[in-house]
């Protein structure tokens, strides 16, 4: 009881203590809750710091790159947007005054820039005819020029020296004195004396020129007279020579003409003689020939008469001989056709037997032997016919060994049953994806179990859209096999694609063998009916 009480009291006090504690906590928590919690935005701060330090890093790196070339290479190669930063850095460094002191920098106006550009492009225009340079005549004009130039310009003048080659001694001396004057003018500084000197020089030069002109004209007159005299003399000489030559020429011509006439007359005489003789000989030949011809005609007429007499008696005999020969020929032909007819009949029987074996539906154990025997028989019978088509068809028939090995060709029912065995394989392979792996095969096997089986022939519509999926092909092949149209069935099956076609290979082989044999035998049959 005491323990129970103490326990009760303990629990009660504990409960009260805990209540007090809770109250304290509640009051203590309120002031904390009254102050609102401050928002810290850590993500925003992070983004800001990132942007700021990245910008500082780029700016520092461009500054270093502009100074150090090796660092610039590394910077441009490995850091994105480095080139743009470098471009910006170079722009700022080149246009420092513009950016930082805009008021002190005198910006160029557009007109100044235009003028500067135009000034750089000063060109000289060349006329269409091309640039020409005219040669300045240094001989006479230069001598007169300094006269004018000294009066207008009292500055220093340099006259070029006179160069004139001539045999006349007077002219040479004058040239020398002129050159002396010119050199003295050039060396002297005074201009007034120069003028007087130049005047005197010009006077002497004009005198000289006049004298020269006189001389030249007199010389010319002399020369002309001389030339005329000489030409008259020569003309006289030529005339004399001409007369002499013509005389000689006419004499020679006459002599030659006489000779030619003589020769020509002789030749003419000889020709006449020869032709006369030839004509005589020809006439003789003609006469002889006609004589012979008449003799031959006479002989022929006589022989003919004799023959006719003889033939009349023997005519009947030869007619009889020819008739007998014709009869012989007919008889040989008849016997040949009779033989071929009987041969044809035997071949026909053999062909029919083969067809019967092919068409029969009971698989017998010795089908192969029967078939090979019949085919050998057929080969023997058709050999003497020598028909090209039949020979080629017979040569393409399957050989004995192959027939015996495989037990002949399958019957229709055998083919159908093999097809039935093939069907589930085809169906399980019909839903394969291209380049299928393990999963593809598993899924194809599983989902093909849910396929609906199709049957019957497709409905004929205007558009020739027949399905090429495996189920439609299976349905059509079943239809054809039931109707015994093996060739259409083979065509359909050979149109399959992928795995289905690979699986149907063996069946196709067998059915093709049968079709080939059937076709060859049919060919032989029709050829016989056509040619017999």
């Amino acid at each position: 009881m005491y323990a129970a009480r103490t326990r009760q009291s303990i629990t009660r006090t504990a409960f009260q203590a805990s209540k007090a504690q809770f109250r304290r906590q509640a009051t203590a928590a309120v002031p904390k809750a009254a102050k609102p919690a401050k928002k810290t935005h850590p993500f925003r701060k992070f983004l800001f710091k990132l942007g700021f330090y990245t910008t500082i890093a780029y700016a520092g790196a461009t500054a270093v790159a502009l100074k150090v070339d090796s660092f610039q290479d590394v910077f441009v190669d490995y850091v994105p947007l480095a080139e743009q930063a470098l471009d910006l850095g170079t722009y700022i460094s080149n246009h420092r005054e513009q950016i930082f002191n805009p008021e002190n920098y005198n910006f160029q106006s557009i007109n100044d820039v235009k003028d500067k550009l135009l000034a750089m492009e000063k060109t000289a225009s060349i006329p269409n005819s091309g640039a020409q340079s005219s040669k300045v005549d240094t001989s006479k004009t230069q001598a007169t020029e300094p006269v004018k130039s000294t009066t207008t310009e009292p500055t220093k003048l340099q006259i070029p020296l006179l160069t004139l080659d001539s045999d006349n001694a007077e002219i040479q001396s004058t040239v020398k004195s002129i050159n002396e004057f010119i050199t003295s003018i050039n060396s002297s500084k005074t201009s007034a004396d120069a003028g007087k000197l130049v005047d005197s020089v010009s006077n002497t030069v004009s005198d000289l020129s006049k004298k020269y002109a006189e001389l030249a004209s007199s010389k010319k007159a002399d020369l002309e007279k001389f030339v005329n005299d000489k030409s008259a003399e020569l003309a006289l000489q030529y005339d004399e020579k001409k007369v002499k030559l013509t005389e000689e020429f006419t004499n020679n011509l006459a002599a030659a003409k006489a000779e030619i006439e003589k020769k020509h007359n002789e030749i003419l005489k000889n020709d006449l003689q020869a032709t006369k003789e030839a004509i005589l000989a020809e006439a003789q030949n003609v006469v002889l020939k006609s004589k012979n011809d008449t003799i031959d005609e006479f002989n022929a007429v006589v022989a003919e008469k004799v023959e006719n007499e003889r033939n009349g008696k023997l005519k009947n005999l030869s007619a009889a001989i020819s008739r007998v020969e014709e009869l012989e020929k007919f008889e040989i032909e008849l016997s040949k056709t009779a033989a071929t007819y009987s041969n044809y009949k035997a071949i026909k029987i053999s062909v029919n037997k083969i067809q019967q074996i092919l068409a029969s539906n009971e698989p017998s154990a010795d089908r192969g032997t029967l078939l090979s025997k019949e085919l050998a028989n057929l080969k023997e019978l058709t050999a003497p016919l020598k028909n090209e088509l039949i020979d080629s068809a017979v040569s393409n028939l399957p050989s004995q060994e192959s027939l015996l090995r495989t037990g002949g060709v399958l019957t229709q029912s055998q083919l159908i049953s093999r097809w039935e065995l093939l069907l589930p394989e085809l169906r399980s392979v019909s839903l394969l994806p291209p380049n299928a792996g393990l999963l593809g095969h598993v899924s194809s096997i599983f989902f093909s179990k849910f396929l609906f089986a199709k049957s019957g022939a497709p409905v004929k519509t205007d558009n020739n859209l027949t399905g090429n999926d495996v189920e439609s092909v299976i349905a059509r092949v079943n239809d054809y096999l039931v109707k015994n149209e093996l060739d259409s069935a083979v065509e359909e099956v050979s149109g399959l694609k992928g795995w289905a076609r690979k699986l149907a290979d063996d069946w196709l082989l067998e059915s093709r063998k049968k079709l080939e044999l059937q076709f060859l035998v049919d060919v032989i049959d029709t050829e016989l009916t056509v040619s017999a």
């Binding site: 065995l421 093939l422 394989e425 399980s428 392979v429 380049n435 299928a436 792996g437 393990l438 999963l439 593809g440 095969h441 795995w499 690979k502 699986l503 149907a504 290979d505 063996d506 069946w507």
Partner: protein, 83 residues
């Protein structure tokens, strides 16, 4: 792949896929078994009989057999599959 080719020549064409399945399944069983054995060995000897190496080994075996089966069906010729 040489063993696969020999089989397809002697057998009829209708059982091409079945022959491949035979190889794939037998290869799978063998590889999984080998993986299981290797896993048990590793677990007993090295890993204080814990169970995870066994699962690892079985997983390896199944994976290998799946991959080889894939290459067999695709006739990729990359692997010479021997049990």
């Amino acid at each position: 792949m040489s063993s696969v080719e020999k089989q397809t020549i002697s057998q009829p064409s209708a059982s091409l896929v079945n022959a491949k399945w035979d190889i794939v399944i037998s290869n799978g069983i063998v590889k999984t078994g080998l993986g299981f054995g290797a896993g048990v060995l590793a677990s007993v000897l090295l890993f204080k009989r814990r169970s995870f190496p066994v699962w690892l080994g079985v997983g390896f075996g199944l994976g290998r057999s799946y991959s080889e089966g894939d290459s067999i069906f695709r006739e990729a010729g990359l692997r010479n599959v021997k049990a």
